[in-house]
């Protein structure tokens, strides 16, 4: 019980307290002053390394899941093969780049200016795939705006009006709308600037303050061991 639960909770308390305590204490603090930057800097440097290991946790999960899918011939199993192929080839290129073996001289261009294999795959496969995946959202937002954006009440009308002013005002079209009036080409952009700087800022600030207080209280609960779901412990 100690090793499985109490030790992790104790570690959470002590390690979680480090960034908080070292924020208030400095090397000039009496007695423990010299230890403050030492502990803070050591912990920060360790976290950079542990974050690297944590980022790769997903790789193991996905490899396990894909192998299981192929073994059991679940629907869509051929696509698991393309997933694993992409992962293994790109991952191998990455590790060879770290070891600087043969043509694998880093993540970008080789000293002679040619693309390294890792960079070639990044530029011609990773970048286009990722960009294309997210660019689909432009089509979806247009379709969703047509189908779902209905002016049913006062609140929806305010939302739509603000959206229209911003969509017009943040393009050159906004300057043309009232340009037939003297000085009119600055009206819509100025109204847009005002909406962003005043009512929008007010709303966002209210959300930021509320969310920040909630996040801070959750952080305190985690550090004090009240909130334990991150350890996989059912309350």
């Amino acid at each position: 019980m100690f090793w499985k639960l109490r030790l992790p909770l104790l570690l959470t308390l002590f390690v979680g307290a480090v960034p908080i305590v070292t924020f208030f204490l400095t090397e000039h603090t009496p007695v423990i002053g010299p230890a403050v930057p030492f502990v803070r800097d050591r912990v920060e440097s360790y976290m950079v390394i542990i974050a690297g290991f944590a980022l790769l946790l997903g790789v193991v999960s996905v490899v396990q899941g894909s192998i299981r899918k192929i073994e059991r011939r679940r629907p869509g199993w051929p696509f698991a093969i393309s997933l694993l192929t992409g992962l293994l080839v790109m991952g191998a290129f990455g590790i060879l780049s770290a070891m600087r073996v043969g043509p694998f001289q880093g993540l970008l261009t080789a000293p002679d200016g040619s693309d390294t294999p890792f960079y070639w795959m990044t530029r011609n496969m990773f970048n286009p795939l990722q960009a294309a995946m997210f660019s689909l959202l432009a089509f979806y937002i247009a379709s969703a705006a047509f189908r779902a954006f209905r002016v049913r009440n006062v609140e929806a009308t305010i939302l739509l009006a603000a959206a229209f002013v911003v969509m017009l005002g943040r393009t050159p079209l906004g300057e043309y709308v009232f340009s037939w009036l003297p000085g009119g080409e600055r009206w819509l952009p100025q109204v847009t600037d005002w909406i962003m700087a005043v009512p929008n800022a007010a709303a966002q600030r209210g959300i930021i303050i509320g969310a920040a207080l909630g996040a801070a209280s959750l952080s305190l609960r985690v550090i004090l061991g009240i909130e334990r779901s991150y350890l996989g412990v059912k309350e």
């Binding site: 390394i49 590790i95 939302l159 969509m167 509320g210 952080s219």
Partner: protein, 210 residues
């Protein structure tokens, strides 16, 4: 030649993704799964080259005595992977506790000192000075307070609180409308980039290389 082949592969994969707009099909599924695999392989590469080698392995194996303390993050990092071995999966909690606790601690200071205090301070301090006009400052104060009251659900939103909450909702609608306008701008920009790649970069590069 490899550049030419590469850009046409990129164009092919882009069109595979776009084919989903017509309907789901094997080309899209292939591109989607390839994307997932290549993304994870990319992570492996950048973590290995940018973090593990320079910050861990090179100092540790270059001067073991001077950097023996780096065994601590190495063991904690490797310990994270014990979660995949059912018999000793509980050991991963130790590393998880250390990792999550640190970022939770940073987050607490960041949220209070970096968000709550400056945001509250700039709302209530100097209401008739600063960059904005006094009227705009007043609107900002009213907006922030009404939004905060709207989000306070521990009392019923009736009478005075109900009226103030309604004002808060109007401010939120203005904010969300602005956010929607900007979101449209963001999504459209991504498509502009892809279309530029397909119709300008691809053709220019092909013409230059042939």
């Amino acid at each position: 030649m490899t550049e030419l082949i590469g850009i046409w592969i990129g164009a092919f994969l882009t069109l595979c993704i776009f084919s989903f707009l017509y309907k789901d099909n094997p080309f899209f599924r292939f591109a989607e799964s390839l994307f997932a695999g290549i993304s994870l392989g990319y992570y492996i590469g950048i973590v290995a080259v940018n973090t593990l080698v320079p910050n861990l392995f090179r100092p540790l194996f270059g001067d073991f005595v001077g950097h023996a303390h780096l065994l601590i993050p190495l063991l904690l990092g490797l310990n994270l992977y014990t979660r995949f071995i059912p018999k000793i999966a509980w050991m991963a909690r130790i590393s998880l506790a250390v990792y999550i606790a640190y970022y939770v601690g940073i987050n607490m200071v960041q949220k209070l000192q970096g968000e709550v205090v400056p945001q509250v301070g700039s709302t209530i301090l100097n209401p008739i000075g600063g960059r904005m006009t006094p009227v705009d400052n007043l609107i900002l104060i009213v907006g922030v307070l009404s939004v905060l009251i709207y989000f306070y659900f521990s009392i019923e939103h009736k009478k005075a609180v109900g009226v103030i909450s309604r004002v808060g909702i109007w401010f939120l609608m203005l904010g969300f409308g602005a956010a929607f306008g900007y979101t449209v701008m963001a999504r459209v920009s991504l498509l502009i980039g892809r279309m530029n790649y397909l119709f300008i970069d691809l053709l220019h590069t092909t013409a230059d290389l042939l």
